[in-house]
């Protein structure tokens, strides 16, 4: 059955949609803008999901791998342990220590990397450049995420005076005990001074400072915990199990 071109055109016109007027340009533009806005809203929601959920998953996996490779390196290190700690200069971005905090769980272990850039804090705990190395006189100052990216310092507010913080390096276990905490606004850099909160004073003691966001899900303030050196145990001696027990009570 063959139709002439004219017949076909007539048929198409009859079959064609019931005469709905084509939308005006303005309403089509508004339609596209509306769809774009809805898309933008969905993308923002996706971002929240990525930030609060996905970064934890990927960072936890990556940090566990860093811990494993650090443990392997430390295991192969020569046991020359004279209480001497990590070489003074660690290249920016390199993982060089493991932090263990029994109060935050018997399995709690997080890598420490040199530097406090956003990129580094997503890989673990960041060491403020220029501050002392673990166990040295001065202030071993570190920063970590309170939320997202594996949140190493999620429960930093659960630390109590006397709690043990173990910094495991290539040569030793450096054991600090928590003294106190303060909550400050982000420009209070004197908390990472060699003598915490006393800039310009010559240090005589080995201290450790941990900083994290406060309150949770906000960056308005910093939760800062100060700890002082209890003792340094050479790697060859091993870490006493008593130090690793999870403390009881709040």
């Amino acid at each position: 059955m063959s139709l002439t071109r004219a017949e076909r055109r007539a048929l198409e016109q009859v079959r064609g949609r019931p005469s709905r007027p084509r939308p005006s340009l303005a309403s089509r533009v508004i339609g596209v803008v509306g769809e774009l806005l809805i898309t933008l809203g969905v993308v923002v929601l996706l971002f929240v999901g990525w930030q609060l959920w996905w970064t934890d998953i990927t960072a936890d996996r990556a940090q566990a791998q860093t811990i494993q490779s650090l443990e392997r390196q430390f295991g192969h290190a020569p046991a020359d342990g004279q209480g001497t700690v990590t070489p003074a200069a660690v290249p920016f971005g390199k993982a060089f220590a493991i932090v263990r905090i029994p109060r935050l769980g018997s399995a709690y272990a997080r890598p420490v990397l040199e530097g406090t850039d956003h990129d580094i804090l997503s890989q673990g705990i960041g060491h403020y450049e220029g501050t002392a190395m673990p166990g040295k006189v001065g202030n071993f100052a570190v920063a970590g995420h309170r939320t997202t990216y594996g949140k190493p310092f999620s429960d930093i507010d659960k630390l109590r005076p006397g709690d043990v913080v173990i910094v495991e390096t290539r040569t030793s276990y450096v054991v600090y005990t928590v003294q106190r905490h303060v909550i400050v606004t982000p420009e209070h850099v004197e908390v990472v001074a060699p003598v915490p909160q006393k800039p310009g004073v010559r240090p005589t003691q080995a201290m450790m400072t941990m900083t994290a966001c406060h309150p949770r899900y906000s960056a308005a303030q910093r939760y800062v915990v100060f700890a002082s050196l209890l003792r340094t145990i050479p790697r060859a001696q091993g870490i006493p199990a008593s130090l690793l027990t999870v403390p009881k009570g709040a």
Binding site: E35, W50, T116, A143, T148, H188, V189, V191, A212, A219
Partner: protein
């Protein structure tokens, strides 16, 4: 925007739906892998450090 896109996809509707799902997944993956990490670097709420008001070398605000 999405209407013409739907019409541009070839095949019957189940095939179109499958293609639409694949396109959506690809878009979400691109967001997760490239867009969001790049954006997060510039957002203030990811900062956990103490810095002086004029940070010298730290990139975080």
């Amino acid at each position: 925007m999405y209407g013409p896109l739907w019409r541009a996809l070839p095949g019957p509707w189940p095939v179109k739906l499958l293609q639409a799902l694949v396109l959506t997944l690809a878009f979400v993956a691109a967001c997760f892998l490239w867009l969001f990490p790049a954006v997060a670097d510039h957002l203030p709420f990811n900062d956990n450090t103490v810095t002086s008001s004029s940070p010298s070398r730290t990139t975080t605000p």
